[in-house]
């Protein structure tokens, strides 16, 4: 079994019929880097949230399983699930500006997990944090450890969050559009950083993004999500060579070539959208559009 296996996962808003996710299955093997691609609103963030057990309260799991390292997370009591997730997985969040607690210093926010979950002593945790900060190329890490988030730039904060995600040596990291909120210039550095860290630490990575350009650089395989369904699951090389699903093709066509970041956007043609919709409606029975 792969390190992470999501099977037939369906989500919906409590009390409402249409589903946010419909029988989604995907897997990430140990050390694998998988992209999860889709338009905004397609539900790709929900998958990440479901895996990490941080679904919004109004969303419930209708059916499905999430296996992490051989354990079925959804079948566990909440607290045990959190422990396992906390020890084996981590999140690199989307917006570095809001993902750090503004009233706490940086140091404890990195070492917290080491001290409280893994039971390290404080000195060891701190030296580990310093090493990580150096690894994410932060100058003067000792000063940064004592700083508050508002004293640091967005790029710095994203580096800190990356360092923090790798702190407990997780086997899986979910990166939820980690570069979207950043300047284009910073984006590349951060991507390189994540990729480098992932390779050094051998961590599996689920890379949630809408940017196929990023996918081609960083990932080995990808899942394409559309309207709550996985419409394509393929190695990156195969996908770019010959996307199978109509939506994938449209998506690829609409994406500016990664070699040409200034390239113009081609919208997904209407006919393609209609075709996809019909397909989805057939799968679900009802279409609330």
């Amino acid at each position: 079994m792969p390190f992470l296996q999501v099977s037939n996962l369906s989500l919906r808003i409590i009390g409402e019929t249409p589903r946010l996710l419909r029988s989604v299955s995907l897997s990430v093997g140990a050390g694998e880097v998988r992209a999860l691609v889709g338009e905004s609103g397609a539900g790709k963030s929900m998958i990440g949230k479901a895996i990490l057990g941080i679904l919004p309260r109004a969303v419930e799991v209708v059916e499905g399983e999430v296996w992490l390292d051989g354990q079925n997370l959804l079948a566990m009591p909440p607290m045990a699930r959190r422990r396992i997730i906390g020890a084996k997985a981590a999140l690199i969040p989307q917006d570095p500006l809001t993902a750090l607690n503004p009233s706490r210093r940086i140091g404890p926010q990195i070492t917290d997990r080491l001290v409280h979950i893994l039971g390290w002593d404080r000195a060891r945790a701190e030296s580990r944090a310093l090493a990580l900060l150096e690894e994410v190329q932060i100058t003067d890490p000792a000063r940064v450890m004592r700083a508050y988030p508002h004293e640091l730039s967005g790029g710095m904060r994203q580096r800190i969050l990356i360092a923090s995600a790798f702190a407990a040596e997780p086997k899986l990291i979910v990166a939820d559009e980690p570069t979207t909120a950043l300047d284009v210039t910073v984006q590349k550095q951060i991507l390189r950083l994540i990729k480098g860290m992932q390779e050094r630490h051998g961590t599996a990575l689920l890379f949630v993004t809408h940017d196929l350009g990023v996918v081609s650089k960083v990932c080995q395989s990808l899942s394409v999500l559309y309207a709550g369904m996985v419409v394509e699951d393929a190695p990156v090389r195969d996908f770019f060579a010959a996307p199978r699903h109509a939506y994938s093709r449209a998506l690829l066509a609409a994406t500016p070539k990664y070699t040409d970041p200034e390239g113009s956007l081609t919208p997904v043609p209407q006919t393609v959208m209609d075709a996809v919709r019909a397909e989805v409606a057939a799968a679900d029975g009802v279409w609330h559009g």
Binding site: I13, I14, E16, G41, P56, R57, A58, V59
Partner: protein, 286 residues
């Protein structure tokens, strides 16, 4: 986009029930107050020293016709509560309205005109806020002498800041908006802009505060009655009944409990009505 944060629909439904219940109680109270002379079972002033301290109807020893019992002078508790509603509502209405008018006007002026007007009014608000309100009201009643008018004056003098503070802040926020600037550009005078552009936008807040203030006015009357400073004829007031009931609580609990319950419900209703209206006017607030 669907809002996933929490079940807001439920909150709003509850606000509706709240609005209904409190409106119902206050409506009932208004009807009772208006019709008190006709529907009250007894004359609220009629005493019969030989029928003193009759218990309410379900307790042994009660007399038919005196549903909620009598006080030590043999006056009918139910009739007194009903007639007391007239004074309570009168105080609530007049004191609330006058307080609202004065406070809102000062708040608008301070918030919109700014400058020295704001400095003076804000400083006054600061000074007022530094007075312990109960002590202040007792002092004022001592100055003015007891009576309905004095109570109303005391409430107005003390509570105008409640309106002024909030309306000032709102008027300030509204004054910074583009439409106000454009109104000024269109050549309207400052006061004209204030009345025609700002006032309608702060009106909902004023209405909400007004409702809350009415509840406060009812309580203030009760507190002043309790320290023996309220209306002093033998006209029935809830506060006066509570003060009497408190001193005879072991002999005739009903003299305390029924007016207290009425007062409790009324204050609760005014406040819930205000909160409910706030939700109605501004669903984002919640």
């Amino acid at each position: 986009m669907v809002d996933l944060t929490d079940g807001r629909g439920r909150v709003r439904r509850r606000a509706g029930v709240r609005l209904w219940l409190s409106g119902l109680w206050l409506g009932l109270l208004v009807v009772v107050a208006l019709l008190a002379p006709w529907i009250a079972p007894k004359d609220p002033l009629a005493q019969d020293l030989f029928l003193g301290r009759l218990p309410p109807f379900w307790v042994a020893g009660s007399e038919p016709g005196y549903w909620l019992g009598t006080d030590s002078l043999g006056r009918d508790v139910l009739s007194r509560i009903m007639h007391g509603a007239r004074i309570a509502l009168l105080v609530a209405l007049i004191a609330g309205t006058v307080t609202g008018l004065l406070g809102a006007t000062l708040g608008l002026l301070a918030g919109f005109l700014r400058g020295w007007v704001d400095v003076v009014i804000s400083r006054m608000i600061d000074i007022w806020m530094a007075f312990p309100p109960v002590l202040f009201s007792i002092l004022l009643i001592a100055v003015l002498g007891p009576g309905l008018t004095s109570i109303i004056i005391a409430i107005v003098v003390i509570d105008w800041t409640r309106f002024a503070r909030v309306i000032r802040a709102e008027a300030m926020a509204q004054g910074a908006m583009d439409y106000v600037a454009s109104s000024r550009v269109a050549g309207r005078g400052r006061l004209g802009t204030m009345v025609e552009e700002i006032l309608p936008n702060v009106l909902p807040t004023i209405v909400v505060l007004l409702t809350l203030e009415m509840g406060i006015a009812v309580i203030v009357e009760a507190i002043l009655s309790f320290v023996n400073l309220s209306i002093s004829t033998d006209d029935p007031t809830w506060g006066g009944m509570i003060a009497e009931g408190r001193s005879a609580i072991h002999q005739s609990w009903w003299v305390l409990v029924f007016p207290l319950a009425t007062l409790f419900l009324t204050v609760l209703s005014f406040s819930q009505l205000g909160e409910g209206l706030k939700d109605r006017f501004d669903p984002v607030l919640r």
